[in-house]
């Protein structure tokens, strides 16, 4: 049987690995959401820019 100190290290490493990867995954998700928010803002701008043209065209 391995001595307690090494065992603690390994057990801790196992839990730490899973924890870190989960954090990493959450970070990636946040990044993606940020990108979506930016895209959404850009789309809203584009829509606002288009709207005046649409009104102009509707009368034709």
């Amino acid at each position: 049987m391995i001595e307690l100190e090494t065992a603690v290290w390994y057990v801790g490493a196992a839990y730490a690995v899973v924890w870190l990867l989960t954090i990493l995954y959450v970070g990636l998700l946040r990044q993606k959401l940020g990108r979506l928010e930016r895209d959404l803002a850009a789309a809203e701008e584009q829509l606002a820019a288009q709207a005046p043209d649409e009104h102009a065209g509707a009368g034709v």
Partner: protein, 232 residues
């Protein structure tokens, strides 16, 4: 990222159960008679394995649903579920060797049934993602993915059985295993809590990723509309 979008309930459950269970793992549960302190990886390794199976099963379920309903959201649900299943599966493949090293002194153990099964499943579902990336988004991709996920329904139990049967016939170099240690009540409780916590975490991540994918899809359609193109 507001709390609502996180699917608050699973997060709350995970947020309470996991830290609590971790405290139990560190301070409350007794040492295993055979393996000593290192056996505590069990409280992580097995729950993530079960959660992985759960999500892979869910993925197959949504795949079948997609083939019936042809609702693209079912396809997304299937994809995200399988994604979670693979993520948790990779946790199994990472914690397994660590456990093997500390328990038996070697980084890989071909006699460990779970490791073998997850290796096969990891390969299989990685292929799932490759398939998805080889087809453009649309009903065809969804259908093909569902078809492959359907094959997975059979593959999971078959892999498990194959590994198990091979064990009894071929006798790999036996590492003396304490299969089925004396489970005390405290171990069972802690295990149950970790399992519930891990499952809740999985669901939390599942719902976030799914929402992300759905918003992605809406963005795509919005952008196409703005460009004046027809929306698929």
């Amino acid at each position: 990222m507001n709390l609502r979008s996180l699917g608050a309930l699973p997060v709350a459950i995970a947020g309470t159960l996991i830290p609590f269970a971790l405290l139990l793992v560190v301070f409350w549960v007794p040492d295993d008679a055979d393996q000593g302190f290192s056996q505590r990886i069990f409280y992580l390794h097995v729950p993530v394995a079960l959660v992985s199976y759960l999500f892979l099963g869910l993925g197959a379920w949504y795949a079948v649903r997609y083939l019936r309903t042809r609702d693209p959201i079912d396809d997304l649900r299937s994809y995200v579920a399988i994604h979670q299943g693979v993520i948790f599966g990779s946790y199994v493949l990472l914690t397994g060797p660590i456990w093997a090293k500390v328990s038996w002194g070697q980084w890989w153990d071909w006699g460990d049934r779970q490791l073998n099964v997850f290796l096969i499943l990891f390969l299989f579902y990685s292929a799932y993602f490759m398939l998805r990336f080889s087809v453009d988004a649309g009903p065809r991709r969804a259908t093909l993915s569902a078809g492959y996920a359907l094959l997975g329904i059979g593959l999971v139990p078959l892999s498990f059985l194959a590994v198990r049967i091979a064990e009894t016939v071929i006798h790999p170099t036996p590492l003396i295993r304490a299969d089925g240690p004396q489970i005390e009540a405290s171990m069972l409780v802690t295990f149950g809590l970790m399992l519930a916590g891990a499952a809740a975490l999985g669901f939390a991540l599942f719902s976030v990723e799914l929402r992300g994918k759905l918003i992605d899809e809406r963005m795509r359609r919005l952008r196409r509309r703005l460009r004046g193109e027809a929306v698929l």
